[in-house]
């Protein structure tokens, strides 16, 4: 074997000799000892014991996460696909690997490419969980100046950024949502391929969605030639676009570059969900208002036939009245203003509604909520879709002496943090209008009230995901408020009875809706159904169709996944 090169550091000798000659600038014995101790503290005593484990504060990694970090560093040499199922903590694994390499001095400059919506979330996680000085990319100079940079892949692939990124060398490159790299002809793939990198982590929950060549393309980014040339891969391992052959061998090859932890492996002690529908009976005044609004919506939508957009805004009014008088009032007030401008006088229909609205003195829903807070007597997060409802609930809680804090998407970051802290330390209730976005983790709370239901099930999932996630140690209770004999009841029926969405694992719904091409328009389709249907029976029938469609797709996806997992894992 050729001998290993040894590089001796001699930079110190000049300055040392200068001190000897001038006899000045000596340090003290105490500092000298401290310096040696500092060096000892940073020493990496062997090749394969993880250093990062005793630097983590505030959380303890799960066994599968630690095992993943070990394998990536010791067996996969720092180039790997992390393909855990959604919710098992790929971010944590990647963060630990980054931290480990930094502590070992093997990584100084790292780039993390993520979808733009996740840039801030990643930066915060690296800052807070791992105490790493990661920065979110904002300005052009940062490509060169920042050692740990989180940037949107869509920014990075555009000029003038692309050129800057390609002129750097990165000790570690992490790409989140790496299933967007499955096609070799895309700019994403070509960018990642051309970035100069030593170690590389590709994170995706779905390393293989359709064709086997997707997997080939992903692996080629990490280790070109791992499967040989593409033709060889096709001959050896592909019976068809989606059908593998020589599965045993393929599985072995895949395992050398990819780690996939699954829920079913029993890694994640996720607690149970208990879902309760709480029927709310409307008072006669509230019923009169709801019926009045429904009638108004019907009449108006007939008049405005053809103008779908304004017709849909009428459905919004109907949904609002299920939430609270206050939410509906705001919309009515705006209509009232508009009609005033157009015609100079208020239409008698609107006046009629305003009168019905005035007649509602007590609101059944908020009364039930307050009763429930008292019964639960623990921390509760309540979600509503409407600002006006949020304000009304907060006022009612204040009147009852129940300590509560608001939470909105529009709050500045530090206000969000402050509200979360107040909720954890002082308040019993958080009244939130938004669940999405970054950084709201409420594992210390285990009761969720859906005061009104978003018609977009992805948003319902986000709400639940705030509380029912890794780190939640107790069973989670979900209470869905359903006003009887209203459209809200139909929607809850669809979500709970037909789709069983409260039993789905996080991430499942997204896959289904994507496949059905309903991810972005389901809400609108539901509204259209309500608008177009003659009566409740028709609404139910058409919602049932959609439900059936989703259920079938879910089963199909589960079967496909099952098959795919079987050949990847042999399980």
């Amino acid at each position: 074997m050729q001998s290993v090169p040894i590089r001796m550091d001699r930079k110190w000798l000049g300055p040392f000799q200068e001190r000897v000659e001038s006899d000045t600038g000596w340090s003290t014995w105490e500092w000298f000892q401290l310096a040696v101790e500092a060096a000892e503290a940073q020493v990496v005593p062997d090749f394969d014991t993880l250093q990062c484990l005793n630097t983590l504060t505030g959380f303890t990694p799960l066994p599968h996460q630690t095992a993943t970090v070990r394998r990536v560093i010791n067996e996969m040499n720092g180039r790997a696909i992390l393909a855990d199922e959604v919710g098992l903590g790929k971010t944590i694994e990647a963060g630990m690997i980054l931290k480990e390499y930094l502590l070992r001095g093997l990584v100084k400059k790292a780039l993390i490419l993520v979808p733009s919506s996740l840039v801030l979330q990643w930066t915060r996680e690296l800052n807070q969980k791992f105490q790493l000085p990661a920065m979110a990319h904002k300005q052009s100079w940062m490509w060169e100046q920042c050692d740990i940079l989180v940037a949107s892949i869509d920014t990075a692939k555009r000029e003038p950024h692309r050129e800057k990124v390609l002129s750097q060398t990165y000790d570690l490159l992490i790409v989140d949502e790496a299933h967007k790299l499955k096609n070799r002809r895309t700019k994403n793939w070509q960018l990642v391929n051309r970035i100069r990198k030593k170690y590389c982590l590709l994170l995706t929950a779905t390393p293989l969605q359709n064709q086997l060549t997707e997997l080939f393309n992903l692996v080629t980014l990490l280790k070109p030639g791992h499967f040989g040339q593409e033709a060889h891969f096709q001959n050896e391992y592909m019976a068809g676009k989606r059908m593998p052959k020589n599965e045993e061998r393929l599985r072995e090859e895949v395992r050398r570059v990819m780690i996939r932890n699954r829920r079913s492996d029993g890694h994640v002690p996720l607690t149970k969900r208990h879902v309760t529908t709480i029927p709310i009976a409307l008072s006669p005044e509230e019923r009169a208002l709801y019926d009045g609004v429904t009638q108004f919506v019907r009449d108006r939508s007939c008049q405005e036939a053809g103008d779908l957009k304004s017709a849909l805004s009428l459905i919004v009014l109907q949904r609002e009245v299920c939430s609270s008088r206050d939410a509906a009032f705001l919309t009515l007030f705006k209509m009232f203003q508009r009609s005033e401008q157009d015609e100079g006088e208020i239409s008698p229909e609107v006046t009629h509604l305003v009168n019905l609205l005035r007649a509602v003195k007590r609101q059944s829903k908020v009364e039930r909520a307050i009763q429930l807070f008292k019964e639960i007597d623990e921390k509760v997060i309540l979600f509503t879709e409407y600002r006006a409802t949020q304000d009304m609930i907060l006022r009612s809680l204040a009147a009852e002496g129940i300590p509560a804090v608001p939470y909105r998407g529009g709050f500045a970051r530090n206000k969000k943090d402050w509200m979360m802290e107040l909720f954890q330390k002082r308040a019993q209730v958080m009244v939130a209008t938004e669940a999405g976005g970054e950084g709201i983790n409420l594992q210390f709370c285990r009761h969720i009230i859906n005061y009104d239901m978003p018609w977009n099930p992805m948003r319902v999932e986000q709400r639940i995901g705030r509380v029912h996630r890794l780190g939640q140690t107790r069973d989670v209770h979900i209470y869905n408020f359903a006003t009887e004999n209203t459209i809200e009841e139909h929607i809850i029926w669809l979500l709970q009875e037909k789709i069983n969405m409260f039993e789905m694992v996080i991430g499942e719904l997204e896959t289904i809706l994507e496949q059905l091409q309903m991810k972005d328009n389901l809400e609108q389709r539901l509204m259209q159904i309500v608008l177009e249907s003659e009566d409740d029976r028709e609404i139910r029938a058409r919602l049932a169709d959609i439900g059936e469609n989703i259920r079938e797709t879910r089963e199909k996806i589960l079967a496909e996944t099952e098959h795919r997992e079987r050949w990847i894992h042999g399980g």
């Binding site: 074997m1 040894i6 590089r7 001796m8 550091d9 110190w12 300055p15 040392f16 000799q17 001190r19 000897v20 600038g25 000596w26 340090s27 003290t28 014995w29 105490e30 500092w31 000298f32 401290l34 310096a35 040696v36 101790e37 500092a38 060096a39 503290a41 940073q42 020493v43 990496v44 005593p45 062997d46 090749f47 394969d48 990062c52 630097t55 983590l56 504060t57 560093i73 010791n74 040499n77 720092g78 180039r79 502590l103 070992r104 001095g105 093997l106 791992f130 105490q131 000085p133 391929n193 051309r194 100069r196 990198k197 030593k198 170690y199 280790k223 070109p224 030639g225 040989g228 040339q229």
Partner: protein, 264 residues
């Protein structure tokens, strides 16, 4: 590094810097930093430039360090120090920068007999080397070596031996140093040669394995990219593979000193 060692290190660091302690307990420290400590630990160069330019009374920071994460919320604006926390890493870097070079004279228990005579010191050069074995993985070993510049004798674990003695920064009265036979550069050369022999005696399995992994991947690249073509992509991947795996030993000097010893 365990919490109690971090606690001890922190306190010694602050003491060496002349910081004032406002509160002390086994699990926390509240300290009024000295100006120098502030410059080392609180990153605010513009503030110091401003203070010095304008001749304003400087106001160094007060910091609260907590060594037990469980107790963090008992302290206002407390920060937890653990082996990976940024402030602690800053402290380590600062200590390494401040403790580079010493020249020390051993304190003697033996009184000088005759006030007109002078007793000699023997000059030793002590160098603390950090040896890193690097491929796609890494490990470090610290070697604390010393060489007698008069006789050329080399001592391992020299630093530990020196820690058992007491030291003066100035040459005491009635003492003198003998002229070394070896120049400093020669002493360093001897130590490096000694260290190299030690390194070469180590088990080199790690390097063999890294080379093997590198060769396998380079072969894969040869098969993957079409032959003969001048392929930039292939060139880049070859460079990356070598960068990732090629085994080498990197030796850094942590610090060094001239130690004038009583005859051993």
């Amino acid at each position: 590094m365990a919490a109690d060692r971090i606690r001890r290190f922190t306190e010694r660091f602050l003491t060496a810097h002349g910081c004032h302690f406002i509160e002390k307990s086994p699990n926390h420290l509240i300290t009024q930093l000295s100006i120098e400590a502030d410059k080392d630990l609180v990153h605010r160069p513009f503030y110091w430039m401003y203070v010095e330019k304008m001749g304003i009374e400087p106001q160094p920071s007060i910091l609260t360090f907590v060594f037990d994460p469980q107790e963090l919320d008992q302290h206002d604006r407390g920060e937890c120090l653990n082996p990976g926390s940024p402030r602690f890493l800053t402290m380590l870097e600062a200590a390494k920068k401040r403790g580079r070079f010493v020249r020390l004279f051993e304190e003697s228990a033996r009184p000088v007999g005759n006030p007109l005579s002078s007793r000699p010191y023997i000059p030793w050069l002590g160098v603390n080397f950090q040896v890193s074995y690097v491929c796609d993985q890494k490990k470090d070993v610290i070697h604390c070596l010393g060489i007698n510049l008069h006789s050329g004798e080399i001592m391992e674990d020299f630093f530990r031996e020196m820690k058992r003695r007491r030291w003066n920064a100035k040459l005491p009265a009635n003492r003198h140093t003998i002229q070394p036979q070896l120049r400093i550069a020669e002493g360093v050369g001897e130590l490096e040669r000694f260290l190299q022999t030690q390194i070469e005696r180590q088990d080199m399995t790690w390097a063999k394995q890294a080379l093997k992994r590198m060769r396998i991947e380079l072969e894969q690249l040869e098969h993957f990219f079409p032959e003969g073509e001048n392929n930039a992509e292939k060139e880049q991947r070859i460079r990356e593979t070598i960068w990732q795996y090629h085994p080498r030993v990197e030796v850094e000097v942590i610090n060094a000193g001239l130690f004038y010893l009583e005859a051993l």
